[in-house]
Symmetry: C2
Protein backbone atom coordinates (compact mmCIF):
# COMPACT_ATOMS: atom_id res chain seq x y z
CA UNK A 1 0.00 0.00 0.00
CA UNK A 2 2.77 2.45 0.92
CA UNK A 3 4.57 1.80 -2.39
CA UNK A 4 1.31 2.26 -4.25
CA UNK A 5 0.80 5.62 -2.56
CA UNK A 6 4.31 6.73 -3.51
CA UNK A 7 3.67 5.82 -7.16
CA UNK A 8 0.35 7.69 -7.13
CA UNK A 9 1.98 10.76 -5.62
CA UNK A 10 4.80 10.68 -8.15
CA UNK A 11 2.39 10.29 -11.05
CA UNK A 12 0.22 13.15 -9.75
CA UNK A 13 3.27 15.42 -9.54
CA UNK A 14 4.46 14.39 -13.00
CA UNK A 15 1.04 15.04 -14.53
CA UNK A 16 0.85 18.43 -12.83
CA UNK A 17 4.17 19.35 -14.47
CA UNK A 18 3.01 17.98 -17.84
CA UNK A 19 -0.15 20.11 -17.80
CA UNK A 20 1.71 23.18 -16.55
CA UNK A 21 4.25 23.07 -19.39
CA UNK A 22 1.40 22.96 -21.91
CA UNK A 23 1.39 26.76 -21.41
CA UNK A 24 4.59 26.91 -23.49
CA UNK A 25 2.30 26.56 -26.52
CA UNK A 26 1.04 30.08 -25.79
CA UNK A 27 4.44 31.80 -25.56
CA UNK A 28 4.90 33.58 -28.87
CA UNK A 29 8.30 34.22 -30.41
CA UNK A 30 9.46 36.82 -32.97
CA UNK A 31 10.00 34.46 -35.91
CA UNK A 32 7.30 33.57 -38.39
CA UNK A 33 6.76 29.90 -39.24
CA UNK A 34 7.91 29.21 -42.82
CA UNK A 35 4.39 29.56 -44.24
CA UNK A 36 4.55 33.18 -43.03
CA UNK A 37 1.03 32.91 -41.60
CA UNK A 38 1.77 33.50 -37.94
CA UNK A 39 4.46 33.78 -35.30
CA UNK A 40 6.05 30.63 -33.95
CA UNK A 41 5.47 29.56 -30.35
CA UNK A 42 8.01 28.15 -27.92
CA UNK A 43 6.60 24.60 -27.86
CA UNK A 44 6.79 24.02 -31.61
CA UNK A 45 10.15 25.83 -31.66
CA UNK A 46 11.43 23.36 -29.04
CA UNK A 47 10.23 20.42 -31.15
CA UNK A 48 11.96 21.84 -34.21
CA UNK A 49 15.24 22.32 -32.33
CA UNK A 50 15.17 18.81 -30.85
CA UNK A 51 14.74 17.29 -34.29
CA UNK A 52 17.37 19.60 -35.80
CA UNK A 53 19.82 18.56 -33.08
CA UNK A 54 19.35 14.92 -34.07
CA UNK A 55 19.68 15.59 -37.82
CA UNK A 56 22.69 17.93 -37.59
CA UNK A 57 24.67 16.14 -34.85
CA UNK A 58 27.56 15.27 -37.18
CA UNK A 59 28.32 18.99 -37.53
CA UNK A 60 28.99 19.58 -33.81
CA UNK A 61 32.57 20.65 -33.08
CA UNK A 62 33.03 17.99 -30.40
CA UNK A 63 31.88 14.45 -29.79
CA UNK A 64 28.54 14.98 -28.09
CA UNK A 65 25.85 12.97 -26.35
CA UNK A 66 23.07 14.01 -28.70
CA UNK A 67 20.40 12.47 -26.45
CA UNK A 68 21.36 14.89 -23.69
CA UNK A 69 21.23 17.75 -26.20
CA UNK A 70 17.71 16.72 -27.22
CA UNK A 71 16.52 16.62 -23.59
CA UNK A 72 18.15 19.99 -22.95
CA UNK A 73 16.34 21.51 -25.93
CA UNK A 74 12.99 20.01 -24.86
CA UNK A 75 13.19 21.96 -21.57
CA UNK A 76 15.37 24.98 -22.44
CA UNK A 77 12.48 27.43 -22.96
CA UNK A 78 10.11 26.21 -20.23
CA UNK A 79 11.07 29.15 -18.01
CA UNK A 80 9.49 31.49 -20.57
CA UNK A 81 6.07 30.37 -19.29
CA UNK A 82 6.72 32.83 -16.45
CA UNK A 83 9.45 35.05 -17.87
CA UNK A 84 8.18 35.48 -21.44
CA UNK A 85 10.25 35.40 -24.60
CA UNK A 86 13.11 37.92 -24.46
CA UNK A 87 14.05 38.96 -27.99
CA UNK A 88 17.81 38.53 -28.37
CA UNK A 89 18.16 41.89 -30.14
CA UNK A 90 16.43 43.70 -27.25
CA UNK A 91 19.40 44.10 -24.88
CA UNK A 92 17.29 45.74 -22.14
CA UNK A 93 14.99 42.73 -21.99
CA UNK A 94 18.02 40.44 -21.97
CA UNK A 95 19.52 41.90 -18.80
CA UNK A 96 16.23 41.73 -16.88
CA UNK A 97 15.44 38.20 -17.91
CA UNK A 98 18.10 36.25 -16.02
CA UNK A 99 16.58 36.67 -12.58
CA UNK A 100 13.05 36.08 -13.88
CA UNK A 101 14.14 32.90 -15.61
CA UNK A 102 15.87 31.53 -12.52
CA UNK A 103 12.73 32.14 -10.47
CA UNK A 104 10.67 30.42 -13.17
CA UNK A 105 13.02 27.42 -13.15
CA UNK A 106 12.72 27.29 -9.34
CA UNK A 107 8.93 27.17 -9.59
CA UNK A 108 8.30 24.97 -12.61
CA UNK A 109 10.85 22.16 -12.22
CA UNK A 110 9.86 21.88 -8.53
CA UNK A 111 6.46 20.57 -9.62
CA UNK A 112 8.20 17.26 -10.43
CA UNK A 113 9.19 14.61 -7.86
CA UNK A 114 12.43 15.85 -6.30
CA UNK A 115 14.77 13.47 -8.14
CA UNK A 116 13.33 14.53 -11.48
CA UNK A 117 13.18 18.19 -10.47
CA UNK A 118 16.94 18.00 -9.92
CA UNK A 119 17.55 16.10 -13.15
CA UNK A 120 15.62 18.52 -15.37
CA UNK A 121 16.87 21.62 -13.57
CA UNK A 122 20.42 20.37 -14.11
CA UNK A 123 19.74 20.13 -17.86
CA UNK A 124 18.40 23.68 -17.88
CA UNK A 125 21.37 24.98 -15.87
CA UNK A 126 23.76 23.17 -18.21
CA UNK A 127 22.14 24.82 -21.23
CA UNK A 128 22.28 28.27 -19.63
CA UNK A 129 25.93 27.94 -18.59
CA UNK A 130 27.22 26.98 -22.08
CA UNK A 131 30.21 25.21 -20.55
CA UNK A 132 29.78 21.71 -21.96
CA UNK A 133 30.09 20.65 -25.59
CA UNK A 134 26.45 19.59 -25.48
CA UNK A 135 25.26 23.00 -24.24
CA UNK A 136 27.31 24.86 -26.85
CA UNK A 137 25.96 22.68 -29.64
CA UNK A 138 22.39 23.05 -28.31
CA UNK A 139 22.82 26.84 -28.21
CA UNK A 140 24.14 26.80 -31.79
CA UNK A 141 20.98 25.02 -32.94
CA UNK A 142 18.84 27.50 -30.97
CA UNK A 143 20.54 30.40 -32.78
CA UNK A 144 20.60 28.82 -36.24
CA UNK A 145 16.88 28.03 -36.41
CA UNK A 146 15.55 31.62 -36.34
CA UNK A 147 18.06 32.52 -39.07
CA UNK A 148 16.60 29.76 -41.25
CA UNK A 149 13.03 30.88 -40.54
CA UNK A 150 13.89 34.50 -41.29
CA UNK A 151 15.58 33.51 -44.52
CA UNK A 152 12.53 31.45 -45.53
CA UNK A 153 10.15 34.36 -44.81
CA UNK A 154 12.02 37.15 -46.63
CA UNK A 155 13.62 38.62 -43.50
CA UNK A 156 10.28 39.39 -41.85
CA UNK A 157 11.71 39.84 -38.34
CA UNK A 158 14.72 41.86 -39.52
CA UNK A 159 12.63 44.46 -41.31
CA UNK A 160 9.95 44.63 -38.61
CA UNK A 161 12.52 45.53 -35.94
CA UNK A 162 15.00 47.43 -38.21
CA UNK A 163 17.80 44.99 -37.43
CA UNK A 164 21.00 45.27 -39.48
CA UNK A 165 23.51 42.65 -40.58
CA UNK A 166 26.20 43.67 -38.08
CA UNK A 167 23.78 42.91 -35.20
CA UNK A 168 22.83 39.59 -36.73
CA UNK A 169 26.46 38.60 -37.24
CA UNK A 170 27.43 39.76 -33.74
CA UNK A 171 24.49 38.07 -32.04
CA UNK A 172 25.00 34.75 -33.77
CA UNK A 173 28.77 34.32 -33.92
CA UNK A 174 28.58 32.09 -30.84
CA UNK A 175 27.19 29.42 -33.17
CA UNK A 176 30.87 28.91 -33.96
CA UNK A 177 31.52 27.64 -30.43
CA UNK A 178 29.11 24.75 -30.95
CA UNK A 179 29.57 24.11 -34.64
CA UNK A 180 32.01 25.83 -37.00
CA UNK A 181 30.30 24.13 -39.96
CA UNK A 182 26.91 25.55 -39.01
CA UNK A 183 28.42 28.99 -38.37
CA UNK A 184 29.97 28.93 -41.86
CA UNK A 185 26.54 28.13 -43.25
CA UNK A 186 24.84 30.79 -41.08
CA UNK A 187 27.20 33.45 -42.44
CA UNK A 188 26.29 32.44 -46.00
CA UNK A 189 22.60 32.74 -45.10
CA UNK A 190 23.14 36.19 -43.57
CA UNK A 191 25.13 37.38 -46.61
CA UNK A 192 22.44 36.06 -48.89
CA UNK A 193 19.80 37.91 -46.82
CA UNK A 194 21.73 41.15 -47.40
CA UNK A 195 22.11 40.46 -51.14
CA UNK A 196 18.40 39.71 -51.48
CA UNK A 197 17.45 42.86 -49.57
CA UNK A 198 15.95 40.87 -46.66
CA UNK A 199 18.44 42.43 -44.24
CA UNK A 200 19.95 45.93 -44.22
CA UNK A 201 23.75 45.97 -44.27
CA UNK A 202 25.17 46.96 -40.87
CA UNK A 203 26.08 50.58 -40.09
CA UNK A 204 29.18 51.54 -42.07
CA UNK A 205 31.81 52.61 -39.48
CA UNK B 1 37.81 19.26 -51.86
CA UNK B 2 35.77 16.11 -52.48
CA UNK B 3 35.13 15.67 -48.76
CA UNK B 4 34.10 19.32 -48.50
CA UNK B 5 31.61 18.83 -51.31
CA UNK B 6 30.13 15.78 -49.63
CA UNK B 7 29.67 17.73 -46.38
CA UNK B 8 28.03 20.61 -48.26
CA UNK B 9 25.67 18.24 -50.04
CA UNK B 10 24.73 16.50 -46.80
CA UNK B 11 24.12 19.78 -45.03
CA UNK B 12 22.00 21.04 -47.94
CA UNK B 13 19.86 17.89 -47.80
CA UNK B 14 19.55 18.09 -44.02
CA UNK B 15 18.49 21.74 -44.15
CA UNK B 16 15.94 20.96 -46.87
CA UNK B 17 14.39 18.34 -44.57
CA UNK B 18 14.49 20.75 -41.61
CA UNK B 19 12.60 23.45 -43.52
CA UNK B 20 10.14 20.95 -44.98
CA UNK B 21 9.14 19.57 -41.58
CA UNK B 22 8.42 23.12 -40.38
CA UNK B 23 5.06 22.55 -42.12
CA UNK B 24 4.07 20.27 -39.23
CA UNK B 25 3.37 23.50 -37.31
CA UNK B 26 0.39 24.05 -39.62
CA UNK B 27 -1.23 20.62 -39.19
CA UNK B 28 -4.09 21.16 -36.79
CA UNK B 29 -5.35 18.43 -34.44
CA UNK B 30 -8.72 17.97 -32.68
CA UNK B 31 -7.59 18.74 -29.14
CA UNK B 32 -7.58 22.22 -27.65
CA UNK B 33 -4.45 23.40 -25.85
CA UNK B 34 -5.13 23.64 -22.10
CA UNK B 35 -5.86 27.38 -22.26
CA UNK B 36 -8.83 26.41 -24.49
CA UNK B 37 -7.96 29.24 -26.90
CA UNK B 38 -7.20 27.22 -30.00
CA UNK B 39 -6.59 23.77 -31.42
CA UNK B 40 -3.22 22.16 -30.93
CA UNK B 41 -0.90 21.56 -33.89
CA UNK B 42 1.22 18.49 -34.59
CA UNK B 43 4.58 20.15 -33.93
CA UNK B 44 3.76 21.34 -30.41
CA UNK B 45 1.96 18.02 -29.78
CA UNK B 46 5.18 16.18 -30.72
CA UNK B 47 7.18 18.35 -28.32
CA UNK B 48 4.70 17.65 -25.54
CA UNK B 49 4.85 13.89 -26.13
CA UNK B 50 8.66 13.81 -26.23
CA UNK B 51 8.85 15.59 -22.89
CA UNK B 52 6.07 13.39 -21.43
CA UNK B 53 7.96 10.28 -22.53
CA UNK B 54 11.01 11.45 -20.58
CA UNK B 55 9.03 12.38 -17.46
CA UNK B 56 6.85 9.23 -17.37
CA UNK B 57 9.44 6.63 -18.41
CA UNK B 58 9.34 4.83 -15.05
CA UNK B 59 5.72 3.85 -15.77
CA UNK B 60 6.50 1.87 -18.94
CA UNK B 61 5.65 -1.84 -18.65
CA UNK B 62 9.08 -2.91 -19.88
CA UNK B 63 12.64 -1.67 -19.61
CA UNK B 64 12.85 0.80 -22.46
CA UNK B 65 15.43 2.92 -24.25
CA UNK B 66 13.69 6.22 -23.58
CA UNK B 67 16.00 8.09 -25.94
CA UNK B 68 14.71 5.99 -28.84
CA UNK B 69 11.15 6.67 -27.69
CA UNK B 70 11.84 10.41 -27.73
CA UNK B 71 13.29 10.27 -31.26
CA UNK B 72 10.32 8.19 -32.40
CA UNK B 73 7.89 10.74 -31.00
CA UNK B 74 9.76 13.65 -32.61
CA UNK B 75 9.13 12.12 -36.07
CA UNK B 76 5.94 10.07 -35.58
CA UNK B 77 3.54 12.67 -37.02
CA UNK B 78 5.74 14.08 -39.81
CA UNK B 79 3.77 12.10 -42.41
CA UNK B 80 0.72 14.22 -41.57
CA UNK B 81 2.33 17.07 -43.52
CA UNK B 82 1.05 15.24 -46.61
CA UNK B 83 -1.62 12.95 -45.17
CA UNK B 84 -3.28 15.34 -42.69
CA UNK B 85 -4.40 14.50 -39.17
CA UNK B 86 -6.76 11.52 -39.12
CA UNK B 87 -9.03 11.77 -36.09
CA UNK B 88 -8.88 8.43 -34.25
CA UNK B 89 -12.66 8.38 -33.76
CA UNK B 90 -13.25 8.81 -37.52
CA UNK B 91 -12.87 5.19 -38.65
CA UNK B 92 -13.35 6.01 -42.34
CA UNK B 93 -10.43 8.44 -42.27
CA UNK B 94 -8.37 5.83 -40.40
CA UNK B 95 -8.63 3.19 -43.12
CA UNK B 96 -7.70 5.62 -45.91
CA UNK B 97 -4.75 7.06 -44.07
CA UNK B 98 -2.34 4.12 -44.06
CA UNK B 99 -1.44 4.29 -47.74
CA UNK B 100 -1.25 8.10 -47.68
CA UNK B 101 1.04 8.01 -44.69
CA UNK B 102 3.39 5.48 -46.26
CA UNK B 103 3.66 7.64 -49.37
CA UNK B 104 4.33 10.67 -47.19
CA UNK B 105 7.06 8.79 -45.33
CA UNK B 106 8.60 7.76 -48.67
CA UNK B 107 8.72 11.39 -49.78
CA UNK B 108 9.70 13.26 -46.63
CA UNK B 109 12.38 11.04 -45.09
CA UNK B 110 14.01 10.71 -48.55
CA UNK B 111 14.94 14.40 -48.36
CA UNK B 112 17.67 13.42 -45.89
CA UNK B 113 21.05 11.88 -46.83
CA UNK B 114 20.35 8.18 -47.44
CA UNK B 115 21.86 6.88 -44.18
CA UNK B 116 19.70 9.28 -42.17
CA UNK B 117 16.66 8.68 -44.37
CA UNK B 118 16.91 5.00 -43.42
CA UNK B 119 17.51 5.76 -39.75
CA UNK B 120 14.51 8.07 -39.36
CA UNK B 121 12.24 5.95 -41.55
CA UNK B 122 13.09 2.95 -39.36
CA UNK B 123 11.99 4.91 -36.29
CA UNK B 124 8.70 5.79 -37.97
CA UNK B 125 8.15 2.18 -39.10
CA UNK B 126 8.91 0.96 -35.59
CA UNK B 127 6.33 3.34 -34.12
CA UNK B 128 3.69 2.29 -36.65
CA UNK B 129 4.25 -1.43 -36.11
CA UNK B 130 3.87 -1.32 -32.29
CA UNK B 131 5.98 -4.44 -31.92
CA UNK B 132 8.75 -3.19 -29.65
CA UNK B 133 8.41 -2.12 -26.03
CA UNK B 134 9.55 1.36 -27.08
CA UNK B 135 6.86 1.66 -29.75
CA UNK B 136 4.12 0.47 -27.40
CA UNK B 137 5.18 2.94 -24.71
CA UNK B 138 5.42 5.76 -27.30
CA UNK B 139 1.91 4.92 -28.53
CA UNK B 140 0.62 4.93 -24.95
CA UNK B 141 1.95 8.47 -24.48
CA UNK B 142 0.41 9.53 -27.82
CA UNK B 143 -2.98 8.25 -26.63
CA UNK B 144 -2.77 9.57 -23.08
CA UNK B 145 -1.97 13.18 -24.00
CA UNK B 146 -5.26 14.01 -25.78
CA UNK B 147 -7.17 12.53 -22.81
CA UNK B 148 -5.34 14.93 -20.52
CA UNK B 149 -6.02 17.90 -22.80
CA UNK B 150 -9.69 16.97 -23.10
CA UNK B 151 -9.98 16.62 -19.35
CA UNK B 152 -8.34 20.03 -18.87
CA UNK B 153 -10.71 21.70 -21.35
CA UNK B 154 -14.02 20.29 -20.07
CA UNK B 155 -14.30 17.56 -22.71
CA UNK B 156 -14.34 20.02 -25.60
CA UNK B 157 -13.51 17.42 -28.28
CA UNK B 158 -15.91 14.83 -26.88
CA UNK B 159 -18.93 17.11 -27.00
CA UNK B 160 -18.03 18.67 -30.36
CA UNK B 161 -17.99 15.25 -32.05
CA UNK B 162 -20.63 13.52 -29.84
CA UNK B 163 -18.18 10.89 -28.67
CA UNK B 164 -19.26 8.60 -25.82
CA UNK B 165 -17.32 6.92 -23.06
CA UNK B 166 -17.43 3.43 -24.61
CA UNK B 167 -15.61 4.75 -27.70
CA UNK B 168 -13.06 6.53 -25.59
CA UNK B 169 -12.42 3.43 -23.48
CA UNK B 170 -12.25 1.20 -26.57
CA UNK B 171 -9.98 3.52 -28.52
CA UNK B 172 -7.53 3.99 -25.67
CA UNK B 173 -7.29 0.55 -24.04
CA UNK B 174 -4.09 -0.07 -26.00
CA UNK B 175 -2.40 2.31 -23.57
CA UNK B 176 -2.32 -0.80 -21.38
CA UNK B 177 0.13 -2.51 -23.75
CA UNK B 178 2.70 0.24 -23.18
CA UNK B 179 1.93 1.15 -19.59
CA UNK B 180 -0.58 -0.48 -17.26
CA UNK B 181 -0.01 2.30 -14.74
CA UNK B 182 -0.89 4.99 -17.26
CA UNK B 183 -3.92 3.01 -18.46
CA UNK B 184 -5.17 2.77 -14.87
CA UNK B 185 -4.84 6.53 -14.62
CA UNK B 186 -6.46 7.08 -18.02
CA UNK B 187 -9.51 5.07 -16.92
CA UNK B 188 -9.82 7.27 -13.83
CA UNK B 189 -9.66 10.36 -16.05
CA UNK B 190 -12.34 8.97 -18.36
CA UNK B 191 -14.61 8.03 -15.43
CA UNK B 192 -14.13 11.47 -13.97
CA UNK B 193 -15.02 13.02 -17.36
CA UNK B 194 -18.30 11.08 -17.28
CA UNK B 195 -19.02 12.11 -13.67
CA UNK B 196 -18.34 15.76 -14.45
CA UNK B 197 -20.55 15.63 -17.54
CA UNK B 198 -17.61 16.24 -19.91
CA UNK B 199 -18.26 12.93 -21.65
CA UNK B 200 -21.55 11.16 -22.34
CA UNK B 201 -21.77 7.62 -20.95
CA UNK B 202 -21.48 5.00 -23.70
CA UNK B 203 -24.62 3.57 -25.38
CA UNK B 204 -26.44 1.39 -22.88
CA UNK B 205 -26.63 -2.11 -24.48
Amino acid sequence: VAAGHVTQDRLAQQLHFILEVDKLKNIVRRSLVTSGERLENDAEHSWHLALMAAVLAEHANDDIDVNRVIRMLLVHDIVEIDAGDAFIYDTGAQSAKEQLEREAADRIFALLPSDQAQEFRALWDEFEERETSEARYAAAIDRLQPLLLNHATGGATWSKYSITSDSVLGMNEKIDRGSSALWAHAQQVINDDVEKGYLEPGPVG
